[in-house]
Subunit: 307 residues, 2 copies
């Protein structure tokens, strides 16, 4: 009786999200990274995000596989088997009691013994958290379509940081986003040194150019949502092309949309203040948006959290 | 009496370093950043490092000025006056009881209200910590001179991230360092898209080429130690040039050294396995190394911690 009372008194509140850190589950507000972890002090980390929709992980295997590939690329070892990672992610979602969730797994360098600057001597750290589903566009933006600005801030090139391994090097995206917000746009697309559109903060981009659905190929994250859209388009007979996409082509496209785990297919109806095509959400975008959400009921893509 | 006993029982151990976070001083091992702070999840942060030597800050004003300039560049507000920042840094050093210290000040984005992705709505956070002095080269390396490898990993270009505002975008430096360590070198220098040497993890580079002391000008952090070396060289009549430095020029230099708050002037005696000049620490390097440490007794540069 007394023990129950104590347990209740100290019972943590996971309602805003749950995290796994240093061997224990904590409410998201208490989750932290050690200040001297190189994951913070050198952004020496990788991560991945999988979503839960209607109580099921969407494409969990693909996200887990990419996470482990990103770890290997940066020579980080989460020190967990895929099964252990899945168990931790699942437990975070259950603790938070979420049917719709944004679930992040993280591996940081940790820190080498004091005085050493050799990353190989560091004890790498694994973290995870589950929070309510994150939309990268609000309800009104999703209805009317996003207004996007093309920034002249250049996305960090692949010769510097491998964009296919997910990383927190977002200063370029953040500075571009600030400029776009100041200009009255909803979000931003960054360009490469050649003036081609590449990606934005947390999403890939698609444009319907002369009947072909184009998405940038080089210098971008190989988004799982991007891959899903390409698969869904192909089975519907939509011609797709992974190639460079100039800013001029995007502006002249008949339709455009973003793809992200934070909302799936997100229509774009204005670029740099000018309407894309007729300025309303187009039919190809609508078809793929619907197909994206329908795919969440496909057992090949869906893993129940309570599985 | 009882209160004293309690205070002793809970008295924190600052001997390994002290940090300031969320309004309180804590031992460095307890210092942390909230996991959902964009300073971690987007590396949306800036920082600066000032050293304490023999109980005095070295060029505190210059580091503080650069820190506030970096904050402004990234539109971050530490929410502290210069006087308040100095007081916090001073208190960290005192708590840790350090005569030689590496003192870091940090400003992170924090996070915007839940659901918002607008950086302008975030409550920025200020952190600081003081730990024992960090040498980026150990005693033997400093005596014999560092063995450096030139990496083909390109330093993140200025068109993507402003290198003059200090930031944690170090994946390029870390991956380059791992390659250099694997190859048996002590540390690494990264290049730009044109194959010119720019900087390494936490340091600038100097090379004596045909009697002129050359240091890269573009795409590098404007190090305070770099600036100090340039000043000390000029007053000694050494001809200096801030310009591009090709990898070939570095390899053909008669002397070379690194400059960093983590050790001052650090001689380089091998590049990619080949000796620089005669392969021993040269006279210009020795002169400037000595001048750097002498400058610590110059009251124009020195601010006693107990001031």
């Amino acid at each position: 009786m007394r023990q129950n009372a104590r347990m209740n008194a100290t019972s943590p509140d996971f309602s805003k999200g749950a995290a796994w850190q240093r061997g224990e589950y904590v409410p998201i507000a208490q989750a932290s990274v050690t200040m001297t972890d190189w994951g913070f002090l050198r952004s020496d980390a990788t991560y991945d995000v999988v979503t839960v929709w209607d109580g099921a992980f969407f494409r969990l295997d693909a996200h887990l596989e990419r996470f482990l590939r990103s770890c290997a690329r940066f020579r980080l070892d989460p020190g967990k088997s895929p099964r252990e990672i899945i168990d931790i992610l699942t437990h975070c979602v259950r603790l938070a009691g979420l049917r719709q969730s944004y679930v992040e797994m993280i591996c940081t360098r940790g820190q080498p013994p004091w005085g050493s600057r050799d990353p190989r001597q560091a004890a790498n750290q694994f973290f995870a958290f589950a929070v309510p589903y994150v939309w990268i566009a609000d309800e009104e933006q999703r209805r009317r379509g996003l207004h996007v600005a093309v920034s002249d801030v250049q996305r960090i090139p692949a010769a510097s940081v491998d964009p296919t391994a997910k990383n927190y090097h977002w200063n370029d995206l953040t500075m571009g986003l600030l400029g776009a917000l100041d200009a009255g746009a909803d979000t931003v697309l960054l360009t490469d040194a050649g003036g081609n559109v590449v990606e934005g903060p947390g999403f890939n981009v698609f444009a319907l150019c002369g009947g072909t659905l184009v998405t940038p190929k080089d210098g971008v994250l190989e988004g799982i949502t991007r891959r899903t859209v390409l698969e869904l388009a192909r089975v519907r007979g939509i011609v797709v092309a992974e190639r460079t996409l100039s800013a001029a082509e995007l502006r002249g496209a008949s339709e455009a949309f973003l793809s992200s785990s934070g909302g799936g297919v997100l229509p774009v109806t204005r670029v740099d203040g000018q309407p894309v095509g007729s300025g309303v959400v187009g039919p190809v975008t609508t078809t793929l948006l619907q197909a994206y959400w329908d795919a969440h009921r496909d057992p090949r893509y869906s893993t129940p959290v309570e599985g």
